[in-house]
Symmetry: C2
Subunit: 352 residues, 2 copies
């Protein structure tokens, strides 16, 4: 399965450029009137080379729904800020060391500052959402606030599920547990909300709540694509080389993260391997042995767990491709509409 | 200086009851549809006995501006949630052990869960703000979002200033540094935003942005009252008995918090005392000696630093009382208007 890389890259790059220039403006204005050093820290994550997937989905959905790029600019910028706020806190919660090829804010500045910069990033995202009232009207601005509330609520619930597993040292989980968690933690803010918010931004003005059925359909599509995206992300973490992926290799094993691959291994390992793996996974990160981590990664490969992960990601992508024709039927036939299809393949093919 | 305790307590108690019943409803509905265990954790801080000062100011300002209690209910609830989210993260950032007489979420559940519960509390506050659109109209709902954005932005900036001092181990600060920090960190979310949001909730409906000049005046009043509140809060931390105040006694000295009293001491101590104090303050909390903390507290008392703190708090309250007649002149003469005056005395007289 391949995707149209030139189309996908063009729309990703354009989206990133739009959002970065909006962010420049936003940071500059706050630096001037507020406490400058905070905004220097705040600018760090967003200006590291990210994929910009969420803004790209939002812009493409907006244009495919009949709108113009400008109509989604503020919302796409807010989505990118929420994403970065989420990463800042996630890195503290997981004790992560690398993000987009550099030290995490946690490692560079310590937990207190990383937490506060995350909070500040969330606050900053509210500004563009408020400006939406003038840019695309009060009705759409409020609808988008509603989407953001839902997205953020699903994300913290997903995070709570995962942190609960860690606190209770639970590894006896099956794939449906993983899917429930990732639906909340990943799908809403990576695919569902960007799609829905894009459509709201671009839809024709009118007094009624727009496109209710269409927006519901996007939940199903975003769910399938988001799960594929997250499994692939976890695969990259296990397999990619550090320089390309931007995080430490197999960082998820160091962190004991419950992935489709790890859970598959634990379900299929013999009793001795199972015990050995659990002993490692329950050891705090700083006390883990690199040799044992390497052993676990190899054992997972031998057990077919990596291949299983790929299979499951592919299956979700195929299900997404099988529904997209129906779910996206209300959108204009255009490069933007085509990007949304290609994106379904891209999420399991990308190398970072 | 005394305050009308029966009036103040009545309005505080009523406000707390209003907000707690709204919170019960909110938590129950999310527990039902979302991931239950998160909402059990989320309910912990708000249902510990707090003062409920922020909702009380909001309700009183709403009614004094001509509105009814119901018109401010959703906003006051959101303010209480934002306050609790702030406390959850503040406790992690400061490594605090006690909050409202019990272990902090940090100590009970660890930093990752405490951070996420803080994030979830922020998200939950958005629900009532969105419901405002139906309850008090779209125009006021958006104005209140704007206030919340400003309040939260000032708070994270104030927090950034304070965390910057800690990171740089700075103690060579004067009172104006403290006031700038506390204006942002405390005044906006404790007094200014509750006052302004209350007035917006209660003001007569109309197509224009209401009461622009009046809202500006509230910034000055809230600044003066907020500084008095924060200095008194820091005094309580140094002086109050654990059982009443709900935090460990002199926790601020353990944390090395820059207060008006500590900064006064450092400016006036002789070289030997100054060196000894700095050595203690720069020692990580867990390595500090209890004897040295006790020595510092006593040395501050002998140096007149505690008395100085009281004097400064009193001075701010007196300045607040000198402006309130003019600044609050647009409000109805009523118990609610009187509460807002009495509250200016209460903030430096309360015992918790």
């Amino acid at each position: 399965m391949t995707y149209d890389a030139s189309l996908v890259n063009r729309i990703l790059n354009d989206a990133r450029a739009e959002v970065l220039s909006e962010l420049e403006r936003l940071f500059a204005s706050h630096r001037q009137t507020g406490y400058g050093p905070l905004y220097d820290l705040l600018a760090e994550y967003p200006f590291r080379e990210g994929k910009g997937l969420r803004p790209a989905i939002c812009f493409a959905a907006c244009r495919a729904a009949g709108g113009r790029t400008e109509q989604a600019r503020l919302s796409a910028t807010a989505l990118e800020l929420f994403h970065n706020a989420f990463l800042l806190h996630d890195d503290v919660e997981d004790g992560s060391e690398y993000r987009r090829g550099e030290a995490t804010m946690l490692r560079a500045r310590g937990a207190p500052i990383a937490i506060n910069v995350g909070d500040a990033t969330n606050v900053l995202a509210m500004g563009p959402l408020l400006q939406n009232a003038e840019a695309i009207g009060v009705r759409k601005a409020l609808l988008i606030f509603r989407e953001v509330e839902r997205m953020a609520r699903e994300s913290v619930e997903g995070q709570a599920i995962e942190l609960g597993w860690i606190a209770e040292q639970r590894f006896d989980l099956d794939e449906s547990d993983y899917v429930t968690m990732a639906y909340k933690k990943t799908c809403w803010y990576t695919v569902i909300a960007p799609l829905r918010i894009g459509v709201i931004c671009g839809s024709p003005p009118g007094p009624e709540a727009p496109l209710t059925d269409e927006l519901v359909g996007l939940i199903q599509l975003g769910f399938l694509a988001g799960i594929a995206f997250q499994i692939h992300d976890d695969l990259l973490n296990l397999e990619a080389e550090e320089g390309v992926y931007g995080k430490e290799t197999a960082g998820d094993l160091w962190e004991g993260k419950r992935t489709v691959m790890l859970l598959h291994f634990l379900r299929h390992a013999g009793p001795r391997q199972h015990t050995r793996a659990l002993r490692l996974l329950r050891t705090p990160r700083s006390a883990k042995s690199a040799d044992e981590v390497t052993w676990l990664l190899r054992a997972m490969r031998r057990a077919g767990s990596i291949r299983h992960g790929r299979d499951v990601a592919l299956e979700y992508t195929e299900r997404a491709l099988a529904t997209e024709e129906r779910v996206l039927a209300f959108l204009d036939r255009s490069d933007d509409r085509r990007f949304l299809t290609e994106m379904l393949r891209y999420v399991i093919e990308r190398v970072k």
